[in-house]
């Protein structure tokens, strides 16, 4: 086994293990506010992946460090662009009346917000499935 291959495997396990923990916590809605440690570990895994190539890997041995680099850079990138902003003068606030709206539901039928009158309502905005 070439010197870089072992290192590449370590980098890959580190990146995938950290990513698995990340997605587990995401599903539990308990990803911490401060994700610095995640970023450090993931960037370290990407760095180890680069180091593996420097030390030299075979063709097959070159796959794990590639995975480590992709995962190790991608998740910190998503962290860096995850901040959400709205237009402060347009966003709805507590005490405001909910605007009237209509939209299609999963069956393609039109839903009208007038039907909500007289009910307690929980509205959840989320981005999309993908």
């Amino acid at each position: 086994m070439k010197a870089g291959t072992k290192l590449g495997l370590v980098a890959c396990f580190l990146a995938m293990g950290t990513a698995a923990l990340w997605f587990y916590l995401t599903r539990q809605v308990s990803l911490p506010d401060d994700r610095t440690l995640f970023a450090i570990v993931l960037l370290a895994a990407a760095g180890l992946g680069v180091l593996a190539y420097i030390k030299g890997t075979g063709l097959v041995g070159g796959v794990p460090p590639a995975a480590a680099i992709v995962i190790g850079l991608f998740l910190p990138f998503t962290m860096s662009v995850s901040e959400q902003t709205v237009e402060a003068d347009r966003v709805i606030a507590v005490g405001d009346r909910v605007p009237r709206f209509s939209a299609r539901d999963a069956a393609g039928e039109i839903f009208d917000s007038d039907t909500l009158h007289g009910h307690l309502v929980l509205i959840k905005f989320f981005r999309a499935h993908w």
């Binding site: 709805i92 929980l122 959840k124």
Partner: protein, 103 residues
């Protein structure tokens, strides 16, 4: 009590994915962000959807409780899309606001 969700998925995508939620909610499609904009919830920051996604922008993840007269009782906006409303926080808000209302 009525539960609604609003997302930028097409009705077909929602129909295909809704079993994942186990929800009895009415899941609304807002591809053109009309509902999102009516609530002022369009994210004006980085648009981090996959390139294949057809919407030009995305809503900020948000949870609202609305009273029977249509006024917002409680609102939780995510300042960071990776941090959603904690279900415990939403439940606590429901208990705090809904239990005080007689219906």
């Amino acid at each position: 009590m009525q539960v609604l969700t609003v997302s930028t998925d097409s009705p077909e995508d929602i129909a295909a994915e809704r079993h994942l939620h186990g929800l009895q909610a009415r899941m609304l499609s807002d591809v053109e962000l009309k509902v999102t904009d009516a609530f002022g919830l369009r994210n004006t920051g980085f648009h981090s959807a996959p390139l294949s996604h057809e919407s030009v922008a995305l809503p900020v993840p948000a949870t609202l409780l609305v009273d029977p007269e249509g006024r917002v009782l409680w609102l939780d906006l995510s300042k960071d899309y990776q941090r959603r409303s904690d279900p415990g926080v939403v439940l606590a808000a429901m208990q705090a606001h809904f239990d005080t209302l007689e219906l």
